[in-house]
């Protein structure tokens, strides 16, 4: 018995070490989940979610098509709804299937526990785990006794639990699936932070890695979207995970551990392939970018290695292929390519938002991962939503053996015309490049929003709530130093120009991949921006962890996070608390409306970004004049202001549903309202 327990504990420990790396990673992950819970509202914020939430309920009941609509009054008017064979389908099935087990768990537990208290209980349990980890770590770094931390922390959780239980409000049964959906995104957001912690931890010391993890979690727009179940956080996580596995493969290759390297390399392709399950368009660009950088920088490209990599990619794309086959009968035709129903013209996705070519190509993109770009390309010239090609798809799947025929079809289609897919790719890139040359538009996407002339504010009730990249993640001010760093790096490289990319250090190779992905995932969406209902330029959200990685790689930033960690942590705490007080004060004192409050934060954040840019650039150019303590404060200020915006956006500004935790609901009426 004891031996079994020991064996089990050992296994858990090893599993924990594989996933979280160490206790710090685990504590980071738990802490972020606890924080996201505080400003979690149960409900639907963006109309696109109605379809995916209804589809989630359908899938959790064992079918892919939507028949009941617990989240909308009528069926057929939701954006993002697609039709095939007389049935209505949602989209982003990869994201939905991730949430299905959570729906089942919550529904099973709700037999024992009242739904509202169940959420409170889950939060309390997570918070207690966090407290016990912090107690352990606190002992290592401070004089505080572990007992004190554990006592105070557990006492606080107990009090919050009691307040929540005593003031609990009823949560209707339909609340559980959407809550599960939101939990899945929160898990993805927390895991994104964990992955950047581990990725940065390969090159830099732990405090730098932790700072990067916290920055992505609650000092960037990732935290804003944590409890909003859109696909962007999940796609961002998978992209970052691809980068992490790529980095591990390069490290292993450099150490001449080729089999381990190959395993990680195949893992990177598998993860990249999984993106197609949620969004084929994004998956395509991820796979192509990864493949280009990977083939150029790999130390081994033997046939065997390439075959294993291809297998990884196939396995990653398999769930998408199976889902597509079940829905349309054509494994290479994702739901987004099926004929759209009802309000699909208000859907802000790459495939239907703009020109027809894009719509077709997005499906093609996803399947290129499995080497079938030609085939889907062929079916994509039907235009927006691919309605013209519905017939072809169903014919392919409905005849012959269910598995073999489509697989054979795939191979045939590899040889098919790849032209439409290629046109789409070049269109997306070319129109993105043309936006680069329009400074006004670039400024509305990246610098200052205000009331941007390019945005139709009517769907937002004329509220100027659309922030730019820099306004939503002012820490990116640190990127100002990147050109200097790049020039130095290029200079250094020119002197050793004979070194081939495959002989670059694993770190440089990873940097190249991150830069390529950040560039590609920005470029392909540029032609659709600026746009309403973006809030923090959500189309570019997957690039946020990548750009944060870039910021951390600036020497002035990672040296500061390593040398002046107390300044960084202290400054961050002061800045976050100050930001919350300032925000609440402005809302109460100036009687701000929603748009005004958001723009107030935008200006504050831009100020923070300017300070950040100044100190980081200053330290990069004249390190003696700008000490690391000052740089630490320059980083802490925008980080804290962003955290303040995240908290206030959830607690005060955007009201779309009841708070998940009743102790927060009890507090909310005492805060000023916009």
């Amino acid at each position: 018995m004891t031996r079994d327990v020991e064996w089990l504990t050992g296994r858990c420990r090893r599993f924990g070490k594989t996933v979280f790396g160490d206790r710090y990673g685990y504590a980071l992950w738990l802490g972020l989940l606890v924080t996201f819970g505080l400003y979690w509202r149960i409900g639907i914020f963006i109309t696109d979610t109605y379809t995916t939430a209804n589809a989630l309920v359908a899938v959790s009941n064992g079918q892919l098509h939507i028949t009941e609509t617990p989240y909308t009054l009528t069926l057929g008017s939701q954006p993002g709804l697609h039709e095939s064979g007389g049935n209505l389908y949602g989209r982003n099935y990869g994201q939905i299937l991730l949430a299905v087990p959570l729906v089942w768990v919550l529904q099973a537990l709700s037999v024992l526990i009242t739904p509202r208290l169940l959420l409170l209980g889950l939060w309390s349990g997570t918070a207690l785990l966090f407290v016990s980890q912090v107690g352990e770590l606190g002992q290592r770094h401070t004089d505080t006794a572990k007992r004190t931390v554990l006592g105070v922390g557990s006492g606080t959780v107990a009090i919050l639990f009691l307040i929540g239980a005593l003031t609990a409000t009823t949560l209707p049964d339909t609340g559980l699936p959407i809550a599960a959906f939101q939990i899945s995104t929160m898990l993805a957001a927390a895991t994104t932070s964990l992955v950047i912690y581990r990725l940065v931890g390969i090159w830099h010391d732990r405090s730098v890695a932790l700072a990067a993890g916290v920055a992505v979690g609650i000092a960037s727009s990732v935290g804003f979207w944590a409890s909003l179940p859109k696909r962007h956080v999940l796609v961002g996580l998978l992209i970052l995970l691809t980068v992490y596995l790529f980095a591990r493969s390069r490290v292993a290759y450099a150490d001449a551990r080729f089999w381990i390297g190959l395993g990680f390399r195949a893992g990177a392709y598998l993860t990249a392939g999984l993106v197609t399950w949620t969004h084929a368009f994004e998956g395509f660009f991820l796979v192509v970018t990864l493949a280009l950088v990977d083939l150029v920088t790999a130390r081994r490209n033997s046939l065997l290695h390439l075959a294993v990599v291809g297998l990884g990619l196939f396995l990653g794309s398999l769930p998408m292929l199976v889902t597509n086959y079940l829905i349309s009968g054509n494994p290479v035709k994702p739901p987004r390519l099926l004929s759209a129903v009802g309000g699909a013209n208000v859907e802000f996705t790459p495939d239907t938002g703009g020109d027809a070519g894009t719509g077709g190509g997005s499906g093609a993109g996803g399947t290129e991962g499995t080497g079938t770009d030609g085939g889907t390309g062929g079916s994509s010239d039907g235009g927006t939503g691919g309605s013209g090609s519905t017939g072809t798809g169903s014919e392919g799947g409905n005849t012959g053996t269910p598995v073999l025929t489509p697989l054979l079809g795939l191979f045939e289609r590899i040889m098919g015309p790849a032209a439409p897919a290629m046109t789409f790719v070049s269109d997306a890139v070319r129109s993105g490049l043309s936006v680069l040359t329009t400074p006004d538009r670039m400024s509305q996407i990246f610098f200052r929003s205000g009331s941007a002339p390019g945005i139709n504010y009517a769907p937002n009730s004329y509220e100027a709530i659309e922030l730019t990249m820099l306004e939503s993640v002012p820490l990116f001010g640190a990127i100002a130093a990147l050109p200097v760093v790049l020039v130095r790096a290029v200079n250094h490289r020119i002197r050793r120009w004979s070194v081939r990319p495959s002989q670059y250090s694993p770190r440089t190779q990873t940097d190249i991949l991150v830069a390529a992905l950040a560039g590609v995932f920005t470029l392909i969406y540029l032609s659709r921006l600026p746009l309403h209902t973006q809030l923090t330029v959500r189309y570019l959200l997957p690039t946020v962890p990548l750009i944060m990685y870039g910021a951390v790689r600036v020497p002035a930033v990672h040296e500061t996070a390593s040398d002046a960690k107390r300044w960084l942590a202290g400054g961050y705490a002061v800045s976050a608390v100050g930001g919350v007080i300032l925000g609440l004060g402005a809302v109460a004192g100036l009687d701000l409306a929603l748009g005004e409050a958001v723009q107030f934060h935008a200006l504050l954040n831009l100020g923070g970004a300017a300070v950040c840019a100044g100190t980081v650039l200053g330290h990069t150019l004249v390190p003696d004049r700008v000490p690391s303590g000052v740089v630490a404060l320059g980083l802490a200020l925008p980080a804290g202001l962003t955290t303040a915006y995240l908290l206030l956006s959830g607690l005060v500004y955007f009201q779309y549903g009841p708070f998940a935790l009743d102790f927060v609901r009890a507090l909310a009426p005492h805060l000023p309202a916009v």
Binding site: L112, I113, T114, L117, A158, T169, T170, Y462, P658, P669
Partner: protein, 160 residues
């Protein structure tokens, strides 16, 4: 990790509370409050609605849009039976704007409530007059009753 480990103690307490108050065991120690309107009524002793502050002014901080500004209402409730709601509504029909805030209150929850409908951005093209006619309503509603506490016509000035 013995039984005196505080997080474990609290976790056990949480777990036991959840299960004991759950649907199967059903101890009535924790009752979740409904948040939807029911029967009953509330007696309102005083109301503060600064209707003269309702106006249209320009947005600040670069919002570049005019706002209909609606002040908060403060309602003092002496007694409550059942589960009625307080409803505060300000509308300007010519601008197609109706703003409201409601609060469902339950038996025993007497006290002062703040109702804050917030401000609303006005479609830039629709603003062509110097003043608009508006109405202010404050009511106590339930499935049984609908009592109007305040019903007032106001002039909403555009201050730019």
């Amino acid at each position: 990790m013995g039984p005196r480990h505080p997080p474990t103690v609290v976790a056990l307490f949480v777990l036991v509370t959840l299960v004991v108050t759950g649907p199967i065991v059903g101890v009535d120690a924790v009752r979740t409050q409904p948040t939807t309107i029911g029967d009953g009524t509330a007696s309102v002793s005083s109301v503060q609605v600064p209707t003269s502050e309702i106006r249209i002014t320009d947005g600040r901080f670069g919002t570049n849009v005019a706002y209909l500004r609606v002040p908060d209402a403060s309602v003092t409730v002496d007694s409550v039976t059942g589960r009625p709601r307080l409803l505060y509504q300000v509308s300007v029909p010519a601008l197609d704007i109706s703003l409201e805030d409601e609060r469902v209150i339950s038996e025993g929850q007497h006290g002062t409530y703040r109702l804050a409908p917030g401000d609303r951005a006005v479609a830039p093209a629709s603003l062509d007059q110097g003043a608009y006619r508006g109405t202010v309503l404050l009511r106590v509603q339930s499935f049984e009753t609908a009592e109007t506490i305040v019903a007032e016509n106001v002039t909403v000035r555009v201050e730019q």
